[in-house]
Symmetry: C2
Subunit: 233 residues, 2 copies
DNA sequence: CGCTGTTAGAGTCTAAAAGACCCTTACTAG
DNA sequence: CTAGTAAGGGTCTTTTAGACTCTAACAGCG
């Protein structure tokens, strides 16, 4: 009747985690970057051979967020800079065979990090808005994760998770533009960022460029990232 | 390595649902309404005797949202007008005995509905911001649900879930005021609501009051409720 | 009947924010 | 030195939130 009432049927519902990982990667030859995500090819039924989100079962000795990170690292060698719970999917007909409840996370990785990701026969990157038919309900899950990313980038400071510690405002703007798929006015973007306490000018400049050297910024670690869930530090 | 990979350990992690239910109830004698929620007294270890959120295990034949609604109805006889997933809690030390992952929902019920709720020795209503120490991590869960409600009432149309089909703008404003715990300017509130497509004047007036008869409004069912999760209609 | 108290609801003014657009600055490449 | 280009400062307009004011429409009461 309440939490922690183990029932004999519990074993009939299996519990898994999956992660939607976004990275910003330059289109081949094209200038602008676009959102890409790594998928894993399934090597067993159901959906044998189809691409799916990285994930797997939860170990009884680890928290679910750790489980998501572990499966992600095991299959793709990625360790994201941002990881947040997305949703728990528990429809009865998600899987044609057994009953699976999936707790899905979404994550952001830096571009350099994404380069290092294991890629092979069974792991590949896909453009986030042009996916093949995936296993289970994973297409819908990616859609929802995309919606969350696009909504959240407008009011939260998550965009910096795509970048390194230090960045220019133009780089940050390019991240926003790639996520939102529209151009932003450089002057207004600058004004907004500088009025926010989340972004701090380091005082340094980036030298070596072809043009006027831009200021370098870093994120203010003491600014709370709203809505990281109830368990945030 | 992926979804639906049943492992022998799966049975060691049990899966449950719980629900944070909010209703708006008038304080005894006091004028203003306040947020209240029903809790259930635990009748077994761990936390025997403590109050906890209504919930229970997931039946393999039902979806998780249905499971939440079913447990809620079984213990409190409530059927909410609004039900949305809140978060999945899966820390390893949530329960001192076994390992439980809880998928928690939050719900809103109308005041009349709340009156009908089963109340007894083991089911009681508590003021949402003045709770006793609850079982498990349920205090933190309620805190998070309160935060979500207060955040969401500002940009979504969920407030009407506390009211009936037809309501006056003053009633709707009282709901917002109770949730946000601050007074709102009647004129500005009216302007905001009338500029939004979510609220529609019926043309009718509420007669029989002591003063100028207020207009009656209803919610526009065709307006999407944003962020009801990926599985919304 | 008209006065009064009270709530409904319209209107005004200001401050803050978002967006469109322009202009100056500072570098590199030739 | 000049041209090209991105950085970054500024202005103007539109939109929006909020504080505040004023009129409308009832019931109850003398």
């Amino acid at each position: 009747m309440n939490d922690s009432t183990p029932s004999p049927d519990a074993a009939l519902v299996s519990l898994a985690v999956s992660t939607v990982v976004f990275a910003l990667r330059a289109d081949s030859e094209g200038e602008s970057a676009s959102l890409r995500l790594p998928l894993v090819r399934r090597i067993r039924e159901p959906f044998n051979g189809r691409w799916a989100l990285p994930g797997g079962p939860i170990d009884p000795t680890e928290g679910i967020e750790r489980a998501a990170g572990r499966h992600l690292f095991d299959t793709t060698a990625l360790s994201p800079t941002y990881l947040e719970q997305l949703y728990a999917f528990g429809g009865i007909d998600r899987s044609p065979s057994d009953r699976v409840v999936s707790i899905v996370y979404w994550a952001l990785v830096r571009s350099e990090e994404a380069e290092l990701a294991a890629v092979g026969e069974n792991v590949r990157w896909f453009a986030a808005d042009d996916l093949p038919p995936l296993a289970f309900d994973h297409n819908a899950i990616v859609e929802y994760a995309l919606w969350r990313l696009r909504t959240k980038v407008e009011y939260s400071r998550i965009a910096h998770a795509f970048l390194g510690e230090i960045f220019t405002l133009t780089e940050l703007r390019h991240v926003h533009e790639a996520v939102l798929r529209r151009a932003l006015d450089p002057a207004n973007f600058r004004r907004q960022m500088e009025s926010s306490p989340a972004v701090i000018a380091t005082g340094e400049h980036l030298s070596g460029g072809r043009h006027r050297p831009p200021r370098l910024y870093r994120y203010n670690g003491s600014v709370e990232l709203t809505d990281r869930g109830p368990l945030s530090p």
